[in-house]
Amino acid sequence: MGPDFHTTIRLERLESPLKRELKDLFGIDVDTCLECGKCSGGCSNGHVFDYTPRKIVQLVKLGAEETLMKMDALWICLSCQLCLDRCPSGIDIPRILDYLRGKARMKRIPARRPAIGLFHELMIEQIRKTGRVSEVGLMLRFKAATGEYMKDAGIGVKLFLKGKLNPFSPSVKNVEEVRRLYDSASKRTKT
């Protein structure tokens, strides 16, 4: 499952099946990485990542799949696509992380921060029900589940005053289509 980062790495013994999978499944070639760090420099959440996007690409090269699936960055990445937009080689890092999140989920490797898994589950469930994310509804459910009602109240007020929070969020027109997507995805993950 990839190298242990507390010992010296033996390069000749490294294999990266992950690198091959990314190439075969999505045409992502991490060998095109120029190691420039523009992805990390532009990353909207990089300052709190344990492994920044540039290092994530390096970890793929090193075949450190275990580290990648356990890293904090996997679940605090906002999928904002900035890294991909900035990358001079066009490496689709968000796609790599999506793939890894799926793998981690299948292997039941939990996110390091306890509430993150819960947040993602609530969000996915909300999309299944309404076809979209309602920030207010999601936050209320999340707060109800964690019991930390006041933790982000200040920022909530600010967002509301700036018109970033819409308390009324109707469902998409054809929710059935969204449900069908969910059904086919869950069927695929079961096989």
């Binding site: 980062f5 010296t8 033996r10 390069l11 000749e12 060998d31 095109t32 390096q58 970890l59």
Partner: protein, 331 residues
Amino acid sequence: MEAALRIAQAGFHAVLVEKEPELGGTLRDLHSSFPRWENPRELIDHRVGLLTKSRRVTIRTQTAVTSSARQKKGFRVSLKSLRNENEDELDVDAVVLTTGFELMDVSVYGEYGYGIYPGVMTSLEFEGQLKKWAQSTREIAADAPRGVALIQCVGSRDRSKGNPYCSKICCMYTAKQAGLVKDLFPDTRVYVFYMDYRASGKEYEEFVRQVIEEKHVRYIRGRPAKVLPEDGRLLVRAEDTLMGIPVEVAVDMVILASAIVPRPGTRLLAGMFGARTDEYGFIESELHEPVRSADRVFFAGGCGFAIETTGALNQGASAAAGVIALFNEDR
């Protein structure tokens, strides 16, 4: 060679003095070139063919310059044959110095074990090995090393035991050699240890990327600290500075991209013609003339600094242009 050819083509007479039995210099030792994987032998044969055919070129191989005296216009040069010790003199109107470069003695790096472990060799020695493999008529698969590590900047960008300067061509020829190993032995694992690769030239960046992305040479950013024996193989120890983690790799051959240094004879020869050399012994240019070092003294190629083949050709042609302009003024 290039300068002599161009001068002759312009209608003047050129005497080509070469210490070795054959023309071509370091280029003769090379198996392939960057960035187009061409055979340097073809270039040499082409130029030697033209030089031999030219009635205005005299080729003096195995001949050394022993002294020189400046005259009103030009020099009286003393030559000595290395075959029979015969000496003679020659009056010339201008000289072009083209003594080339050599590699630094990297045995000062005890940590790399050059001269101790047979698998550790310089890039130029490895070029010979590549040539041997490529020209072999027998099956060479049995020779295939399982792993090869190429180390850049051995003696370059090193103020403590080597030279502070960048040797300019190692990034490119290292990529070339790494790619050639992969062409010969696709299953061999090839590692290049680098601090940064400098590929500033037409098609150079694409060349290095091709070696990394298509030939699958693994580039590790970090300067190895030690080569040590392990179970009959060589263990290279370094830091992967991109991740900040120590790495090791077991290989069968370690290739050192040794720093480019001037030949010791260059300083001596330059002195004979009043040309200046820098603190390392490379010939220095004068004023705004990049290939002129003193009145009627031009130079080209590696004796001025590390240079790739096309650059040396350009300098040779440039020196010839200087000589031709001078001769036209003389008339």
